[in-house]
């Protein structure tokens, strides 16, 4: 196996170096490696249809034949391993003849489907047939198998199948899903979902990507294209923080399908390359493209006339907005104007928006979606690490090579399916120990070596407990002990009240398993902690992150190479939002607004004085709006009415505002309340960049021309600014890009430098005071139980097939999943005597919501006392059941979990 990375070499027992002769050339290779790998590493291309470097050679196609001296029959090079003294020849006429014969075997059962086949032109069988020049194929026999169209997404035409098994292998070995299998049917081997049922899996589409023929096709693009007609544009996925690169294929200004680097064509490579990512994308990225060409897209600005939103020409809408904003600014000053922006916008859009608000409108009332949770991470890690900009400490490759991974508060399979493949790779190939702390038995929890099925809401107790166990058992990292003896001492004293028993009781995990997990983490060489919403978007989210810093500290993760603490981001550009100053407390580059020097720097660069204004965040904006202090609110891509629970009073606040401008590709709940709705483009119609959670700044490229008259966000800001008399003139997103590059040197890179972590500032100043307060066990601290009468915890969360509300506009994703159903564990369902298809009535302590009736789905993974509702759907308005709370430090709005009571519904 390939051992390119030094770390891998340490990890994997490298075989002995041997020498063999290939085509007369002496070659060195590691013993036990696949001959095919060695050959392709030399640049020799041998036809192979079942081989892909991401999984173990399978050897079904019989094409990769080579001549090995001493063997009579041709040898399949993929399954053969190299041996010392081997003499291999590849280009002999006998081999060509043998390969030709193997090919004819495949051809003889293949139907004459080229005219209707979607793979025609991107088909390995076609390529080789053409290359070999076969001529007549004897003994043709057709399979006549009906096409399996039962699945929602993929069609299986087994007549075309060449039984290479790539789909099965990629599913089994890369995705660890194992949804597909071979089946003997009517004398032919076919590929089908397990137990010959309709395929219902994660729909990552990797099987579709690696299929070398047209046996697996995609329902959403079926028959709409031929590969040679498509224009391919590489861009960045707009759904999660992974920053996957999509190849968007378009025909006539319409996105027809989305592919990625992973195809059967990308098969040649070293299997160590998998550590650099298998190049695949998830179901959201692959099948969520219809949102761009959705009929629901806004094509013209809408303006409220006689209480109704009517389509208006751009000029009128722009004039109206410019005039009203100018007037409000003149009459009431900048403090009457506020702005909200979404983390789905590009860096360029966010940068220009905050500039527009801060120097054009003269206000610092600009905030973004990071307020829903990510700011906890930013605030806590900024404080601990002493850096301005926060990103993951480890890159994806390091996660792949990690020897211990601790995942907490994240159902990584559902939220970051592609990043998840890294964890799976670490599990499968590098034999990493994976600890998943989650009350829900998620997919990754089932795969993990250690699943800590903790009690609902006891995550912070678990973290603190683990810290204590490590300290108690003397597992604390030596370097840390030497470097920060005081801090360790502070921690020891702060956690004095915690013991392994209390932790076991609080979390419901037996003491020995806790100890085992602590030991794995503390003794790891390359331990990686991954955490997300589950601990940041809930009460004490800020403290939880600081607790994790403690855990990482005592495990020495900050000291070891390839180890670290990593926050995952739900939205695609959450990092960019904060880096671009899309939060009221930050200027671009993560500089604090309240810092006069930082403000001075930008005042100079932007040639406009920025006064010392208070940072007004989203909850305050809503408050001020309710009080009538905000006269104009400019909302870009954000949807507070649709996202926040009713208790936040977003709708009421908006109704008090004189001018609500919403800029969005779709008409959202918030848009319906607006006075002007400006049609913005989606990611596919503009240039720009997204910052992934790793800190890579990935380019967003224009895939198609803007739909209707929609415009890129930056263009709208720029034109408005021009109309209002403070020109922010940019000819293209590239110019904004250049300005950002000047303002934040080194920002635009796809290979970010490792995050420098400087803990001494944090640990030496005030840590002694702050840490004990976190460890003090407060009553009701662990939220294990809610108020009396509300025994269930309702969690709003993301599911695999959706991302925010954006993806619900994608027709394909809605076909895959549109179930606005309450997920309930089997134990609870039994107790409440519920069966699938029943409805339940939910009540909660939140004010003025009443009861909400919702259908249920029994989800075996859920523990008792926990119910889950996908946050993407607003009908029924389950989100309103939660009473929002504010974090006292970071002012993050917690609205993703709360106590509810469940009663069986009428029907």
């Amino acid at each position: 196996m390939g051992t390119r990375d030094a770390k891998t070499a340490r990890l994997m027992s490298a075989g002995a170096e041997i020498e063999l002769t290939i085509n007369g050339e002496k070659v060195k290779a590691t013993e036990g490696r696949s001959l095919y790998d060695v050959l392709s590493g030399m640049g020799v291309i041998i036809p192979a249809m079942c081989y892909h470097y991401t999984f173990t050679p399978f050897g079904s196609c019989g094409m990769c034949l080579v001549e090995v001296e001493g063997k009579k029959a041709p040898v399949r090079s993929c399954t053969a391993s190299v041996q010392a003294g081997m003499v291999v020849r590849t280009e002999t006429p006998e081999m060509k003849e043998a390969q030709k014969k193997a090919l004819i075997k495949h051809l003889s059962t293949h139907p004459l489907d080229c005219p209707v086949c979607d793979a025609d032109g991107h088909c390995e069988l076609q390529d080789f047939t053409f290359q070999f020049g076969i001529g007549e194929v004897p003994n043709v026999k057709q399979k006549g198998i009906p096409e399996d169209t039962r699945s929602t997404v993929l069609d299986f035409n087994m007549n075309r199948c060449i039984v290479c098994g790539q789909c099965i292998n990629v599913c089994k070995e890369v995705q660890l899903i194992d949804a597909l299998t071979f089946l003997k049917k009517d004398g032919f081997t076919i590929v089908t979902a397990k137990e010959d049922k309709p395929l219902a899996c994660e729909f990552c589409g990797d099987c579709l990507a690696v299929c070398p023929v047209g046996a697996i096709t995609n329902k959403f693009s079926k028959y709409l294209y031929k590969p040679w007609q498509m224009k391919k544009t590489q861009t960045t996925c707009p759904y999660c923080g992974d920053g996957c690169q999509l190849q968007v294929e378009t025909k006539d200004n319409r996105i027809v399908r989305v592919t990625s680097k992973l195809t059967w064509k990308s098969k040649w490579g070293d299997r160590a390359e998998t550590a650099k990512g298998h190049g695949g994308i998830c179901g959201r990225g692959r099948f969520g493209f219809q949102m761009v060409n959705s009929p629901n897209r806004l094509k013209l600005p809408l303006m409220r006339k006689d209480g109704r939103l009517v389509e208006t020409p751009w000029l009128d809408a722009q004039d109206f907005v410019a005039e009203r904003l100018t007037k409000i600014k003149m009459d009431h000053g900048g403090q009457a104007i506020a702005g909200l922006i979404s983390a789905r916008c590009t860096n360029e859009d966010i940068y220009l928006f905050q500039k527009f608000m801060r120097i054009g409108m003269g206000t610092n009332q600009v905030d973004g979606t990071a307020r829903y949770g990510h700011l906890n991470v930013v605030a806590a890690l900024r404080k601990a690490f002493g850096t301005d900009r926060i990103r993951m400490m480890n890159n994806a490759e390091q996660v792949t090579h990690a020897d211990a991974i601790f995942i907490i508060g994240s159902d990584i399979t559902e939220t970051h399916p592609v990043f998840n493949v890294r964890v799976k790779e670490a599990l499968r190939k590098y034999k990493a120990k994976v600890i998943v702390a989650d009350p829900i038995t998620t997919h990754i929890a089932r795969l993990a070596t250690h699943h800590l099925a903790i009690k609902t809401g006891s995550e912070s107790r678990l973290i603190q407990g683990l810290v204590k166990i490590i300290l108690d058992r003397g597992l604390c990292d030596e370097t840390v002990l030497q470097k920060y003896p005081n801090a360790v001492e502070v921690l020891k004293q702060a956690a004095a009240g915690i013991t392994i028993e209390t932790t076991a009781e609080a979390t419901g995990i037996p003491a020995e398993r806790l100890a085992e997990a602590a030991e794995v983490l503390a003794k790891s060489e390359r331990g990686v902690v991954l955490f997300e919403d589950g601990i940041t978007k809930r009460k004490d989210g800020y403290q939880n992150v600081l607790n994790l810093v403690d855990l990482a500290l005592v495990c020495g993760l900050f000291e070891k190479d390839g180890a670290g603490l990593n926050a995952l981001c739900e939205e695609n550009n959450e990092l960019g939002l904060v880096d671009m100053g899309g939060a009221s407390e930050f200027l671009p580059g993560g500089l604090e607004y309240q810092n006069a020097a930082a403000r001075g720097k930008f005042s100079k660069e932007w040639r406009e004085e920025m006064p010392d204004l208070p940072s007004v965040d989203l909850p305050q904006i809503l408050d001020r709006a309710r009080k009538g202090e905000i006269k104009a609110l400019y909302i870009v891509g954000e949807n507070p009415v649709g996202t926040l629970p009713a208790s936040m009073g977003a709708a009421e606040a908006l109704s008090k505002i004189e001018l609500v401008i919403v800029q969005d590709p779709f008409l959202t709940e918030t848009g319906r309340l607006a006075h002007v709705v400006l049609p913005a483009t989606t990611y596919a119609e503009k240039e720009g960049s997204f910052t992934s959670m790793e800190g890579k700044v990935n380019p967003v490229r224009m895939v198609i021309e803007p739909i209707g008259e929609s415009k890129p966000d930056w263009e709208i800001f720029s034109e408005l600014a021009w109309r209002m008399g403070f020109p922010l003139e940019y000819g293209s997103a590239k110019e904004i890009h250049r300005e950002i590059a000047k303002t934040i040197p080194g920002y635009f890179t796809t290979k970010p430098e490792p995050l420098t972590v400087e803990l001494s500032g944090y640990l030496n100043n005030g840590y002694a005071k702050e840490a004990p307060s976190r460890y003090a066990v407060k009553p009701g601290h662990d939220q294990a139980t809610g108020p009396a009468g509300y025994p269930f915890t309702l969690v709003l969360g993301q599911i695999l097939y959706h991302s925010g509300k954006y993806s619900t506009q994608a027709e394909g994703l809605m076909k895959i999943y549109d179930k606005a159903l309450l997920q309930i564990g089997p134990a609870d369902a039994e107790r409440l005597q519920l069966a699938a298809g029943d409805t339940v009535v939910l009540t909660s302590p939140a004010d003025g919501v009443g009861a909400i009736e919702v259908g249920i789905e029994i989800q075996p993974a859920l523990p008792a006392g926990l119910v889950f509702f996908p946050e993407h759907f607003n009908t029924p308005p389950v989100k309103d059941l939660i009473a929002a709370e504010l974090d006292p430090v970071t002012r993050v709005i917690y609205h993703k979990r709360g106590p509810v009571a469940i009663m069986k519904g009428a029907s």
Binding site: P115, V116, P146, E147, T149, D155, N157, Y223, L224, K226
Partner: protein
């Protein structure tokens, strides 16, 4: 054969007389012009005229929307939009088919490319119009041409060895797969 230059020839203008005699003889030859449009020339079978889309004898459209004609066209005048027949799963057809006759170079490559012989060239050449947009033939118009001049198109295919002349010869017709859901063949 070099021209003689003697005096007699010069004086008598013999070469002019010889030429006049040729012209005079031609006066009694058969006329070769004819009165178009009252009389039209007979075009050979292989003549490359306007394109038409063809149907099978039972009225089913031959075209399966494979877009190969679009790829083969040297002047990029063909546009095919294909999709699944709404009520027949797995049957591919061209929902829209355009040939821009103003761009067409009448090379016949599309016919040569078509793997189901859905296109044929007819002897139609009189489709001039006052409105340029009429020359953007859509699917309806193309089937109209194909139906009206089916014999021409068939003769064209035979003349260019795209199809056998006799009906008993193998006539390719793509057989669509059927779905497990209905289990019946289309």
């Amino acid at each position: 054969m070099k021209p003689g230059r003697n005096l007699i020839q010069k004086i008598l203008m013999l070469e002019i007389v010889r030429a006049m005699w040729v012209v005079f003889r031609h006066m009694f030859g058969k006329g070769i012009t004819f009165q178009y449009p009252h009389v039209k020339r007979t075009l050979p079978d292989g003549h490359r005229g306007a394109l038409g889309l063809l149907k099978y004898d039972d009225g089913v459209e031959r075209c399966v929307g494979c877009d190969l004609c679009e790829a083969a066209c040297p002047s990029h005048c063909i546009k095919v939009v294909s999709e699944q027949v709404p009520d027949k799963p797995l049957v591919r057809y061209a929902s829209e088919f355009y040939i821009d006759m103003t761009k067409c170079v009448f090379c016949g490559f599309c016919v040569e490319a078509c793997p189901v012989n859905a296109l044929g060239m007819t002897k139609l050449y009189e489709y001039s119009t006052e409105n340029k947009r009429d020359l953007y033939f859509d699917k309806k118009k193309l089937y109209e041409v194909g139906e009206t001049y089916f014999a021409d198109a068939k003769a064209y295919l035979v003349a260019h060895r795209q199809e056998q002349a006799d009906e008993t010869a193998i006539q390719y017709r793509y057989k669509f797969p059927f779905t497990v859901l209905t289990g019946k063949k289309e």
